[in-house]
Subunit: 345 residues, 4 copies
Amino acid sequence: MKVGIIGATGYSGEWLVRLLARHPRVTLSLVASRSQAGKRLADVMPVVASGVGDLTFVASEPDELAANKDVDLFFLALPHGVASEFAVPLIEAGKQVIDLSADFRLGSTALYQEYYGVEHGAPALLESAPYVLPEIADLENPDWRKSKLIACPGCYPTSVQLPLYPLLKGGVISDKGIIINSLSGVSGAGRKSTEYFSFSERVSSVVAYGSPKHRHVSEIEEQLGCFNGSPVIVQFTPHLIPVHAGIATTIVVPAIKGISELYAAWEAAYPEGKTPFVRILPTGTFPETKYVVSTNQCMMSAVKDERTGNFVITSVIDNLIKGASGQAVQIMNHWMGWDSKEGLL
Amino acid sequence: MKVGIIGATGYSGEWLVRLLARHPRVTLSLVASRSQAGKRLADVMPVVASGVGDLTFVASEPDELAANKDVDLFFLALPHGVASEFAVPLIEAGKQVIDLSADFRLGSTALYQEYYGVEHGAPALLESAPYVLPEIADLENPDWRKSKLIACPGCYPTSVQLPLYPLLKGGVISDKGIIINSLSGVSGAGRKSTEYFSFSERVSSVVAYGSPKHRHVSEIEEQLGCFNGSPVIVQFTPHLIPVHAGIATTIVVPAIKGISELYAAWEAAYPEGKTPFVRILPTGTFPETKYVVSTNQCMMSAVKDERTGNFVITSVIDNLIKGASGQAVQIMNHWMGWDSKEGLL
Amino acid sequence: MKVGIIGATGYSGEWLVRLLARHPRVTLSLVASRSQAGKRLADVMPVVASGVGDLTFVASEPDELAANKDVDLFFLALPHGVASEFAVPLIEAGKQVIDLSADFRLGSTALYQEYYGVEHGAPALLESAPYVLPEIADLENPDWRKSKLIACPGCYPTSVQLPLYPLLKGGVISDKGIIINSLSGVSGAGRKSTEYFSFSERVSSVVAYGSPKHRHVSEIEEQLGCFNGSPVIVQFTPHLIPVHAGIATTIVVPAIKGISELYAAWEAAYPEGKTPFVRILPTGTFPETKYVVSTNQCMMSAVKDERTGNFVITSVIDNLIKGASGQAVQIMNHWMGWDSKEGLL
Amino acid sequence: MKVGIIGATGYSGEWLVRLLARHPRVTLSLVASRSQAGKRLADVMPVVASGVGDLTFVASEPDELAANKDVDLFFLALPHGVASEFAVPLIEAGKQVIDLSADFRLGSTALYQEYYGVEHGAPALLESAPYVLPEIADLENPDWRKSKLIACPGCYPTSVQLPLYPLLKGGVISDKGIIINSLSGVSGAGRKSTEYFSFSERVSSVVAYGSPKHRHVSEIEEQLGCFNGSPVIVQFTPHLIPVHAGIATTIVVPAIKGISELYAAWEAAYPEGKTPFVRILPTGTFPETKYVVSTNQCMMSAVKDERTGNFVITSVIDNLIKGASGQAVQIMNHWMGWDSKEGLL
């Protein structure tokens, strides 16, 4: 299969290039970028040393790309608002599309406008674009494969849903009083040319931001509400920490059942060998972001505090991989019926 | 006044040396350390370039130190369990003592044993050793100055109490459902010679730890309970992040009143000009650890989330200064009736 | 004495604010910045917590500043090319000026144009503006104090001249085959809003740059040539490393005499107690940048390699302090006849 | 082919595990480690998530390992002095061995003793153990494949030899006056449990060390002397910088020919497409360590300084990969006649 990447020069786009370049089932035949058009991939991304280094970035006009016969499936690694502009002609031209932006993640244009501050660019496509966190969508909505346009989850929401999905479904935790604190590496903000994101400003500092209505709150609540069958309200506070990549999420939530029921629910949802990208650590241990950085893994563990009656759940992912590009490749693998791990080990 | 430091070679001890060396009201006349005995201060701490560099570390036998006529006030920067061994003869000899360890922070030996895992070394001194977070103790317990032995608060508890004290006192927040997440620089663990704390293991990783019963839970709950007049239970989850110094604490707590009442309570407790080490930032802004690292400041701000009914409160301190050595110097300043800022700007 | 800072918002400017705010002999009465005009100092620099926080940035028109009666001495912390624009009216108005830029460091406008690529903005002032590295200028050119305009040395050149000056003067080293490698923290580039200097791009990487004709080559060679009495050519290669502050310089140079003569020359030039900001470490030890970061110190040591006949000399400074703002304050102290250390410990 | 790793728990050993686990031509059938014996690989190295995670570390007695029928080729990732103890019985048992330590790198036991401070443990094996930097050994000594024991080069020497080999051979540079400065990530020191290598001590500092007789001087000079046909003396100064992985080497050397001859010599020795792990960048650009970290690449470039008559050559590698484990795998690939890139992309 021939694949292309539109917006290949961000940090997620760069990882997509690296993953797709060595994926045994696909040929990366197109990389599009307005800012780098005309340049060789190998010159823009010196770390990409294999065969695809000879690809040259093309300028990315939507209609032209839609007419391209060399690409069957497009990955959109574009800012929200821009992705939908490209999705419309691509879908009309019969291409398959995996969108890494937020444009097709939310179920309602009103919610999109509330959280993203702009009108939705392709409301007609919204309903037919399933939200696919692969481990969960395969269980909840296996028909997602019939769609042509797939919305790839956000980074923070991935780190939240993987641990909470089996627990809400199984009645192991309360659906009230969910408190989420996340720590994210700086790459979560994308490639940046601002003083705020300069090395000297970030290197020895840590700061909360975006509270109380970070954009990902909408996505987290909508998805948790789906599993739960009724609305879920969360308190979500992200923090910026001085690492390049990695998210560590700590969730405090009132327990309904015991720690063994929590682990049983996790193990049932993520059976060893079947869900290679979820790894459950024993209670009392805490996953480090370094265990998962540069991989498509999510690791999680939990403790119960008998004094407070809460579970404290921690999960870690690489925001650029399981939180973006790796998840997109995993979606492609499931979509095509390939082994989930193809190109991801 | 002549002061001495026992255990001067840890990170807090080193800051104590730097602060006391330039304090205009005191002479640093003794530094004691078993591991560095006989070495010149300037050789052990190359960054200390001023006059005190000529001091030589002495081996630190408690009785000998108690008999030392050259020191009026001792700072103990020792591990818990060891500090109390030194405190007993020093107090018996009539010295004034500010203890930076945990040995005299808790009100009960049972609680101490539960959280620190060892029997308390000087139970007879416990009752007469007030816990002094200066901004709060001056309001709650001004008689603390009459004691000879002062317990200096822990780092995490300082970052929690300064924002919560006026809010619990003023009924601005609920005393139930207090969820605290803290991020700490690696120096919080002290000087370390373990693989876990090696550069390569820490540099690009972040991890939660110590949940659910980190030692500081006991101190936080005991102090909050005092302000509140009834027991307070908290969920406290610390995290280790790749910076040398700095603590960022994020507290989620159900609101009873509005954001303006919260700010009014803070401003009443910490009037500008009177409490030089507390700085309140406007709602919607978030303090960064870099604003306070290398200073004795605590900065804090809060937002109210009308959707959840919670306040999200963030505070930052330098764990080695306002969380240890600077606070100890501030205690001395208040104790002696000097300006709070002496030697701390 | 009343002092002002023009261009107070860069990293050197910020350190100037901090140093001058607590300097016991001066009042910081003006901070000028086009980009921050109208804002309170405390809001722009949260870490500056003392009295000067109430100063408000003024827009910095040269003539207006020259007419300001509230300032006796101006520090210019401006980009090269801009500094000379301000210097002209200030000098005409009889102000004293310490310029931290490169505008008055070189002796010839032709050399300036060759290395900085622009025409010199105030050639008439050049001759009467001495280059003052205080430890050296006091010996070589004590009349510098009679000038009204002083050129403050660059960061790399400071780290090179302090070790080499006594060795060239004393014939301890060859004046041919001087190979200099320097490693600099990212703040050396100033406040930056470019992708290249973003956290993610810098955090785990190191790179040489600027070879073979970095701008500071001109300054290094001109000054070394002065000490030497004949031209000196050096090979200078700077490197960018992932720390905020600090320069480590490693110099390889053919030895003419032995290691004890090298140390004797250093000790004669920098007698202990007389030059408080130069510290000489024993042969076989190597200074770390952490020993000097946040201080005005330069530390140095040397080894002789009998196999190659070279000395390997290492020196470290804080590029923002001994390499800029601290040095400027030290110049002021010497200029006014104050103790060298005033405001710098 | 079945391979085993002895000493699999250091940083190089861990990379060996990762590389060999996904190498399409080999089965990793044994991992030996005294410190981790009995533990599952996946528990010791959480980041290793693939099939080999089920391997269990065995205690590593040399004779027992030599008798193991499940391993054809052993990689020794052991400290110097220890590696030779294992090599003797393995070679006697007919195994193939690639040794990543320094034990078989030097040609003479006297030089080994001078630089490593211990007597050589297996002098009888020394002569039959070729030193193989693959790109160079294939040209200089293609018969190396007939040996059973291969010495894998050190990290610094790799970064020095790849750029200098074609230049010395081609008479492009002088063989006198070679000045080498290298910057290395902290992992170069191996897994460490010392205060010196703790996060807080390393994170914001940089320091030279090991001058003038770092152990790798012996290896660099011996190898350069081989290419040159006569002894070469170098000045080598390594520095420790706050990154986990990566070496940046800057070499200053008097030019004999011009920059185009330098590039021609490089391109002749490392033709594009033939030496996939050497990449030559244009003059005036400088390779960053981030271009090569996590890869087996060496990147290099050079400028000529007409003022000094020197070349300034910079090269970068990942010390753990092209400087150790990746090079070892590349050696295996060449040894077995496989494609150089197998398992290394």
